[in-house]
């Protein structure tokens, strides 16, 4: 199974659209797409998870790795449009306290 | 389900009869010669398992129609020792070590659907289906 991954340049930064199930098999694809974006100095990256209906802990790990890389490069990573199931996982693991997760209305003007 | 037949497996002749019944039934349904050979091999493996490892067992053959297509259902029922750990038996790879359940992953791959119910001491029921393409 493959992830649907698309990037779009914004006036400031990049938006990464992700679609599909992020699990142990697809996580490497996400990593390959996401890491180069956050490893640029002072980058601004929005990850749109609207089309993601399932994510497992391996998938969360990719975001943890990206967060650490973003901090090292003074970059910003922001997750948007999480469905409830996905949002719950970020919340239970406490990741919502260290990763910038936008409410849906907040980000519509991005 | 319409046509039904069942063959008692007590001797090696029983295996051959079950094969024969399966071949004729699948031929009649219009299965290709390769699929006929596959169905027959599946029957053969199931019957041989009964013959070698349990005292008593029956191979059943049925024609099935799910509204869209026809198919053949093979059942293998025995009152043998049952299978202790189904998870192990159904593991793919190298299950040719003998014993009841040997070759079941092969049967599963020859057919389209496969189900097994087994409890130690209470025997085993295997149901497997092949659909006409």
């Amino acid at each position: 199974m493959n992830l649907d991954l698309q990037t779009k340049a914004l006036s400031v930064g990049t938006r990464l659209y992700v679609g599909g199930e992020i699990d142990a098999y697809t996580a490497p694809q996400l990593k390959e797409a996401l890491m180069p974006l956050v490893e640029k100095q002072e980058a601004y990256v929005i990850v749109d998870l609207e089309e993601v209906n399932y994510i497992d802990s391996t998938g969360l790990g990719i975001f943890v790795g990206a967060l650490k890389a973003a901090d090292q490069h003074n970059s910003t990573m922001r997750l948007v449009s999480l469905n409830d199931r996905v949002k719950r996982l970020f919340s239970i693991t406490g990741l919502d306290e260290v990763i910038d997760i936008a409410e849906k209305r907040e980000e519509t003007n991005q | 389900m319409t046509t039904q037949s069942s063959v008692e497996i007590g001797t090696e002749w029983g295996i051959v009869s079950a094969r024969q019944a399966g071949r004729e039934l699948s031929k009649g349904l219009g299965f290709s010669s390769v699929d006929q050979a596959r169905i027959t091999t599946a029957i053969s493996e199931l019957a041989r398992n009964i013959y070698l490892y349990t005292k008593n067992g029956v191979i059943g053959l049925e024609v099935v129609n799910d509204g869209h297509r026809q198919g053949i259902i093979i059942t293998a029922r025995d009152q043998g020792p049952g299978i202790e750990n189904l998870r192990d038996v159904m593991v793919d790879g190298y299950s040719t070590s003998g014993g009841l359940g040997a070759g079941l992953p092969g049967v599963k791959r020859l057919m389209d659907e496969f189900d097994i119910q087994s409890n130690p001491g209470e025997g085993t029921l295997i149901t497997t289906t092949k659909w006409l393409r």
Binding site: A24, K31, D56, S57, T58, L60, G61, I62, V64, G65, L67, K68, A69, I92, T93, G94, L95, E97, V98 | I15, V16, S17, R19, Q20, R23, T40, T41, S44, L86, R87, M90, G93, Y94
Partner: protein, 336 residues
Amino acid sequence: MTTYEGLRDSYKQILYNFLHHKNEQSLYEAQQFSKRVIEEQISPEEIVSIHLEVIEDLYPNLSSETRKSFEILLEVMIGYGMAYREHQILKNKQLELESEIDVAANMQHTFLPKEIPQLADADIGVISVPASKMSGDYYNIVKDGNEYIAIALADIIGKGVPAALCMSMIKYAMDSLPEQLLQPGQLLASLNRTVEQNIAANMFVTMMYASYDPATHIFSYSGAGHEPGFYYDASEDRFNELYAKGLALGISRDTQYREYQQSLSVGDFVVLFSDGVTECRNGDRFLERGELAELIRKYQDKTAQEIVDNVYRELENWQDFQLHDDFTLLLLRREV
């Protein structure tokens, strides 16, 4: 007579019988022959070659087209022959690797407590089953001199060998903590520092750590991003969520962990588990937390160990014996 000649003679016999009294018996023999040649590791192109030799032998006036056509079939079968030999090599490799992993899995068993401590006033049951052979779930239950019980339940991200390697870190890190039991919050904070230093960037560990004081019947717990458990309130006959907010271990160096407390009355129990329990799935359908609670309720008259064993058995069956994640379920009930 070489094996090859023996096989050719058997094949010739089967083919001859079949052509003269075309019957199922011969086809059955052909199938048995197939098993035998596969056992003897004869490559499929050899079979095609034997077939041609035999029909040439049986029918000396075989048409030259038929004979020639076999050259093409043979050429195509050579490719399958390579795949077939690759298969045999792969099978041996796989067996080797599996037995290696069996040894490692056995080692891992020694990381988990050999027995559950017995308590005067509470009953504890636990079951932990890896999805594959090696587990990324860890638990521990210890009793100190004052009958204090400490319970640890951790889930390393992912499963299989990498998670198992990391699970051993949790085990040794726990072992090297001071002898006296720490408060749950302190313990997680200390463990987090070790994990953060040693873990790969995209890994983390979720954990619940609790202590139960049988004198006061207070269950104190802290959580590091772990799946919430249940607190069963006997007087109200109700399952409540047992949640401890906190960042998973290994993400940020100086994380602090809040401590929660739950007082247990007689018959109350707490249930801790890894997300392998709630992520049980049958096709696309996930188990709901409410269903899990109902399942526990169904067996609640039994001992703690019987409850967790039965819940596991039902869920194993429900998902066709295919665990998608390591499964750990622990229950502590106040008895008197």
